[in-house]
Structure formats: C-alpha cells, structure tokens
Symmetry: C2
Subunit: 513 residues, 2 copies
C-alpha cells in the first residue's frame, strides 16, 4: 500500500486487475501510449446485420468465457437491455465475464444473481445503486470493482485499459445497417453520448432496438461503420424510467437559500460575464441556482456561450430564449432535453471523450467556466465524496464530478450543511471521488467556504459581502448541531477501487461490516 | 513481377515502399489487423492551441526529415494551404517528406520545385493533374507514387499503412480550440469528409483558417479532441477555385443522347423503384441522366432513399423537392451543395471511411443501388481507366470510382464512343483503376454494352428494346471510325502504383518516353 496525494492508502497491485498507479495531482500523469485499435472487420455489399434475437447476436459475436461486455446507461432506471442480455448469456452458459457498462442503477439488481451463478466476475462502472451496490459493498465479488468517471471511462477505453470485447447498446432508433440515434422512437432517451465510445472501440458492436427505421437513418449518433449486428426486440426500456418527466423546481426553503448563496457567489466570482459557460446538475439547489442566474442574465444582458453536461429542460429553454448560444449534451436528463437534441442543431450531442476525457487533445470541460456540483460529503481538505453513503455502502456514481471540477475555472459544491442527522462537511470524507485541490468553493445553507488556494475568490467574495467562513468552521457548525459522526466500521477487504480521471487510484472502498 | 487477376504485371516489392499484394478480386482480401492508434496527447485547461503563423505550427508539431504530411483537397483548384505549408517547410530546411494529400490538382504545380529541392521524395494521392502530373509521369521521383481511391485512402489510414505524422487541414470555419466546419466563412467548401480521416488519425493535427469564430463552433465536422494547433492566416483559398459556381446543364447533343440511353437502361434495370439510391458525377452526361430520371420519378411517384457522393446542386434541389429523402455528402461539387450541408439536417456530412472504406463494418457505397461513372477508357474486359490520358500521362484521379463500382448493384459507365480522334472503348485500357468484374453496363452514344456476368440485365434490356451490343462491337465501331490507336510507348521505370481499394496492387503506371 502507498499513500497517495490525497493521503489515502492505495494498493500497488491488485489480483485480477494488475499494477496500479497512485493519484498524484489532477494533471501530473502524462499519457505516453498510442490509442487502442479495435479489430478491423469487413462488411460486404449485400451482407445483412439484422438478427431477430439477442441469443443469435451473442452467438454471432463469438462471446466467450472471460471476455468483457459493455452497455450504456442512457435508458437509466427504464433499462431492459442489460438484464435481458445477461439472462441470455447465462442461459448460453458463458461465465466469468467483466461487466463494463457506463453506469449501473437500481434496475440492475438481477446482476447479483449473475454474480452468484458465475456469469459476472468483475465490474467496472461509473456508479451503482440498490441491491447490487449493497451486495458489492458486502463483498460479493473476489475482485474489487473499478469506479471510473465518465471522462475516465472514455480515457480507459481509448487507451485500451478497458478493452471491450462486445458492446450491447440499446438504440431507440436505428436502421438495419446500424445508423442509430437516441431521440426518436417510443424508448427515446436523447443523447447517446456515452454509447458513442463503446461503439467506436468495442471489437464487436450489437445494437438492440425496438424501432427499426428506413435506411439511411442519418444524422446518426452511432454510425453504421461501427456496428456488427442489429437485433430487434419488443421493447428496450420502460419509458417511465428512461426520462422521468419534466424537471421540477424546488420549493424547499433550505435548497433555495443554498441556491441564493451560490448565485451570489457566481455573480461575484468574475466568471459571470458575457460568453461564460456553465454546467449544472439536476438537484433541487442546482436547478434553482440556474434559475436565479437566469434572472440576472436577463437584467444585465449577459449571454452564455454554452451549457454542458447532462442537460435539463431548463438549459434548453434558456437556449431557445437566446440566453445560451449552444448546448453540448452527453446525456439528457428530462423529456425536454431528450426531444430537443433531435430538433435543434445548436443542441449538440457530444461523446464522453469530447465531454470529459483528459487524455485527448482537449475535452469540453477544459473550456468550462462554472460547474455546480453536489456532494454527499466534503471534507476540510475540500475532497468530495459522491459514491458512498453515511453507512459506507456504495449508493452513487462518480459521473462527471471529478472531470468537471478539474476542468472548470470555478468548481462549486452546493450542499446542505446537514442531511437528516448526518453532517455533510466532515473531517475526512469516507471516499474521495474528487480531490480538494480541484474544488474552489463550497456553498451551504449556513455559509460559503472558499478553498484557501483561491485567494482571488476570497478577496472577491469578501468585497461582495458574502457569508464567508472557513471549511473548518462549516464542519464545526455541523458538528455543533448533530455531533461528531461515529466512524464507519469497515472490514479489510477492498471491494472497490476509485480511479481518478487520469487512471490513477485516488481511493479504495472497503467491505462494510 | 506477378500477373494479377486483371492480367497486369505488378511488382512484389518496391524499394522505398516494401512488399505488395497483387489484386485478386474485389472482396478477396480479408483484413486481419487492428486499427492504427494515433499518439494520445493531453491538452490541459488553459492551454492555447492558437498560433499566428504556419512556421510556428510546423515547428510546434516537431516535423522532421522523412515524415509524412497530409492535406485535404476540399479547396480544390482554389487551395492555398498545400503550397503555403510546403514553402514554410522548405524554408525550415526539412527534407525527404512523404506528401499524402487526399488529392492533388493543377494548383499544386509548385510541388515540382519541392521535389527538385529534396523537400518531397514520395507522394500518395487519389489523383494529380497538370505540371506536377507531367513531372511524375516523366520520372521525377525515385519512388513510385501510390494512387489510392477515396475509400482506399481511408482504409490505409485506419490500418496504419498510411501513417500521417502531421496533417495540415484548411478550415473554412473554426474556433480557437479546433471545432471546425467547411460550410461557413469566405472560403467555404461544404463537406470536410476527406479531412475527417486525417483529423482522427494523424499524430499531429494543425488547422489553418481565415475565419476564427467564437467557441464552441458546433455542430463540428472536425472536433476539438482531434486538433493540436489552430493557425490563422489571411486566406486559405481563392473562392473562385474552391467551388466553381452553380452546376450547368449540357446542351451537347451527344451527351444528351448518352444520358437518354443511360436513363432508359436505369429505368429498365429493376433498380429504379421507390427507395432506390444513387450516386452520379459532375460530367455533362451524368448530370443529364439525373435530370431525365427526375422527370420519370415525378411521373411515376418514385422517391429515392438517398443520394451519395460528391454532391451537386441537382441532388440538393431534388431533396428539397421531396424526391430524395437524405443526402450523404463526402464532398461538395458546387455552391448549392456547399451551402446546403450547413443548413439542412437531412443533408448529412460523411467521412471518407463511412463513404467508401471496404474495411470497416459497412460503408455507404455498399448500400448503393445505382452509380453513374465516367471513363477515359473502357476495355473489352470492362476494366476502366480514369487516371492516364491517351498519351500515357497522369491526368485524372481514382476518386471513388472503384469504390462505388464495387458497392453499387448497378455500376454504369457513361462515355462517348470516341473523344476527338481517340476511341474510348479499347482492347486494353492503359491503366486499370476499376476492375471489369465490378462494372455492369457501359453506355455510349452508339450503343449499350452489358457485362456478360450480368445475364439478368441483358435479359431486361433486351425486353426493353434498348440499343444493346457487345463491348467488342463497341470497340470495333470506334475503331471503324478512328482506326486502332497506336500503342503508347513507355519506359521501363514504374512511376506509379495503383492500389485497389483493399490495398492490393491492380496496376502500375510507367514513365512516358
């Protein structure tokens, strides 16, 4: 074990994974290799890619014991694909696979059974929730899972560290030759940004669709040159779970107070000026920040150059109203966003690599002025945890958290000082997803703390008379209300490795007792 | 030397190039390697890609003696980029480079000087014309040039056979981070389809622009993740040479007669039905064919699924009128096409690989029903020459000729029986670009010849009472008018290797005496 730059003990070698590099700062590791090259294949005129069952597709790909399979998570809690495919693979008796989706959620609880029956032996993902997360935290797997950020996964795929043998990708719309998009059909989800990566690098690519349309289905998010097989099924997902309706605005007074503080800080930061760019999440406070900013943008005639990220209807409306010039969308968060991307050329679909991969010639997060992020915990070194809950169990996702924090000029955490009886600001976060040196400001309902590295912001915020305090003061305020939280008890077994976006190990997740 | 499947003597090894494979049929060679992986690079937040001179860019890329540089030919006869860059490279004293543009034309005559002064020692291109072509045919280079089709070049880049060290790509519009398109700005050219390949695979990518626009310039034909440097110059090209105005319709009675024969053959072929797809060139006869077909499409309510290729305003208008559903555009041939691609989502920009690379999971030419192609010569084996003139000198381009012929269900040559005093139908073409087994029909002003392999078409055309004859009869008709052409005298030196789209050698070009 080595102590890395955020003070976490991380292993140098893990059985079943190999040698590891410790995290050593957000841009300290320079890539030196060449891009991974997937198998070249030839599809001749007249060849058909169309198959009428997942079973035929699995057989056609030549999937074998020990290989790596991938999926995208754009169908979110409505996803039917992953469970359907694993059931078929199990029936065919294929074992010992690495499951490498862009993320996992509650709907994927059946994976637990496929771990027990030996079909799945390793997992790499952005996040995991529900019964599967609990089983992993409980030590069900012999090899730790790898948690990667969205940018980190794109990097790992492009470098060949994550070599995908077969990608099974849900396609809300495709023609029989594999030109697919995500914004039309009954199972529409909007952007296919995460799936683009798998389609370009997997040795075999299978599209699974419930909406076969005439050739050529262009513009295409996934192009025919990347697709081996197209499978038709009755339904790829449950519309109710794919995009969960329109974005709702919070009326929670604490969230509104956090949002007001955050908006004031952004306005005082110097980054809120014509041509600024922004990314914001779907939490109540985050959405409210954007709403407050919108008001000021109209009053002061400030127009943004672009909004980035997982996109909500709020930014779509602002773009339509002329307040934002372009939208760069890796993932749609609601119905409005999912529809808009197919209709508006200024609403641009981006891949995970273009979004956030630090090892290409410049991802979009590099050009981000402001990002508003959430946190389960923030510690006095400004490290952020968004993956493990107060009981130590995995319950979240790395997502684009560390990617955007590293890229943005102003990386701002918005969070309540206390959740229930649990403090958010703590001495040491349970798990580090995003290193403190990339976090600039923490905004709570009880005050704003600025990273001491950002003396410029402290000066600006002081001048603007914002309710500033130190991060230690925030921690003490929290503890004065709910007391010092009892340390979580972990077993020795490492159940998860948290990769920083550059492929180094920033933390480990241990088995809960 | 080996005799290949079209009966041409081709070398097994060439000094300075290496081992070669002889052509052995259009789909006989199965790719077995992995895709080439270019150097991974990291651009950090705050890094600037902007440089104010080509010289600074050449130095920044680390270009060295013996490397390979590439360019795109979308600026056509208006291109300033290639000559500007070579002048800078010559001034910097860098020697012995391989010049690997997507094509070369008359405007690139100054390359002759750069061959003489040792800057350029090898060339690979789709075509070459004018003084440079004459110098090459005269034997100026020690190593033969390699002629590749558009699909073949994409294949060679993706397989690593053509490894580009530095790509210098003219960008009619880009932001400072490298998001570029070809359809806006004073030097607009439309599609950047050929440039996409270089941008994705070159180890270093330099965009050169005369039109820097605000970030983010999306939708982007070339994305920022692929670009190392952006250089601003006063002008990247001469608008008069880039897209040569609107497409004009022929009034030449012989061309109209060929077109009428061709349209009748297409209508009788069985492929002319709702949902058909088509590619057609810019020659007078080709354009006239499409005009005749349009009339029938309206009369019989036949709508096409897509038009492909280098695109003219004619197809743009038909798409706007609802006669064609989608346009897949690798290269704009006139002002109308160059503008439309930026305005119409159903006018879709495709890369050279998506267009015509036989070694991916299915290029668009595979889905083509009908292609109408020109020829300098066709021989009695239906082999086609579009590269060398009647004096044996290089004067054309391989282009997408052999790609579309291999992909399309109906590959049709339209050509006059005689040009000036030169027969078009001959016993043996001077140079084989497209093998006869992929050509279905040859339409002339004096009759239509069908490849004997296509008994089905002979039957249909006979039933339709088309003016059928054998290819030998066409040859004899030509010879009866102008006599048998005198054989061209060549020296022994091989000045060009003609690659078929799969990377095998289909023919050689010898030095003219």
């Amino acid at each position: 074990m080595l102590k890395n730059k955020v003070g976490r003990e991380v292993p140098e070698v893990v059985e079943g994974i190999g040698e590891l590099k410790p995290y050593n700062g957000p841009f300290s590791y320079e890539p030196e290799t060449r891009k991974f090259g997937r198998q070249i294949a030839q599809t001749k005129p007249g060849d058909s890619k169309l198959l009428d069952s997942i079973e035929k597709a699995v057989i056609a790909t030549g999937l074998k014991d020990g290989m790596t399979i991938s999926f995208h998570h754009h169908l979110r809690e409505g996803d039917y694909i992953l469970n359907m495919v694993l059931d078929v693979i199990a029936k065919l008796g294929i074992k010992n696979l690495t499951l490498a989706p862009s993320s996992l959620s509650g709907v994927h609880a059946p994976v637990v059974e496929h771990i027990k029956n030996g079909v799945i032996s390793k997992i790499t993902t952005s996040g995991v929730r529900g019964a599967l997360a609990e089983a992993i935290s409980g030590g069900i797997l012999d090899t730790p899972i790898i948690i990667r950020s969205h940018g980190g996964r794109a990097r790992a795929i492009e470098s060949g560290e994550l070599k995908i043998d077969v990608a099974f990708l849900g396609a809300p719309s495709t023609d029989e030759y594999g030109n697919a998009n995500g914004y039309s059909g009954k199972s529409f989800c909007g952007s296919l940004g995460y799936a683009k990566q798998d389609a370009e690098y997997a040795d075999k690519v299978v599209l699974i669709t419930d909406n076969l349309v005439p050739y050529p289905n262009v513009p295409a998010s996934i192009e025919q040159t990347n697709v081996d097989y197209v499978v038709t099924v009755d339904a790829i997902g449950d519309p109710n779970g794919i995009v969960s309706g329109a974005t709702r605005y919070t009326k929670n007074p604490r969230e509104l107070l956090i949002a007001k503080n955050a908006a004031s800080a952004i306005e005082a930061s110097g980054y809120f000026k014509p041509g600024f760019s922004i990314q914001s999440g779907t939490g109540g406070a985050s959405l409210a920040v954007a709403r407050f900013l919108k008001k000021t943008m109209i009053e002061k005639d400030i127009k943004a150059s672009f909004a980035l990220g997982g996109i909500t209807g709020q930014f779509v409306e602002m773009q339509q109203e002329g307040l934002i010039s372009k939208i760069c969308d890796v993932q749609g968060f609601d119905l409005t966003a999912a529809k808009s991307i197919g209709e508006n050329p200024d609403h641009y679909e981006i891949s995970a690599s273009l979004y956030a991969n630090s090892h290409n010639r410049g991802c979009v997060v590099n050009k981000l002025d402001i990002v508003i992020l959430s946190a389960l915990e923030v510690d006095t070194d400004f490290n952020v945890n968004v993956i493990t809950g107060s009981d130590g169990v995995i319950r979240g996702a790395s997502g684009g958290h560390c990617d955007t924090a590293a890229g943005a000029k102003l990386a701002m955490i918005v969070c309540p000082l206390i959740r229930g009886r649990i403090p958010t600001i703590v001495e040491k976060v349970t798990t580090v997803i995003t290193p403190g040196e990339t976090i600039d400001v923490v905004v709570t309902d009880r005050g704003i703390a600025v990273n001491p590295l950002r003396k410029d912001l402290i000066e600006k915020f002081t001048k603007a008379k914002l309710p500033l305090c130190t991060i230690e003061e925030l921690k003490e305020k929290a503890e004065s209300v709910v007391g010092k939280p009892k340390a979580i008890e972990f077993a020795d077994k490492i159940v998860g490795l948290v990769e920083y976006r550059d492929g180094t190990i920033i933390d480990v997740i241990k088995q809960v007792k």
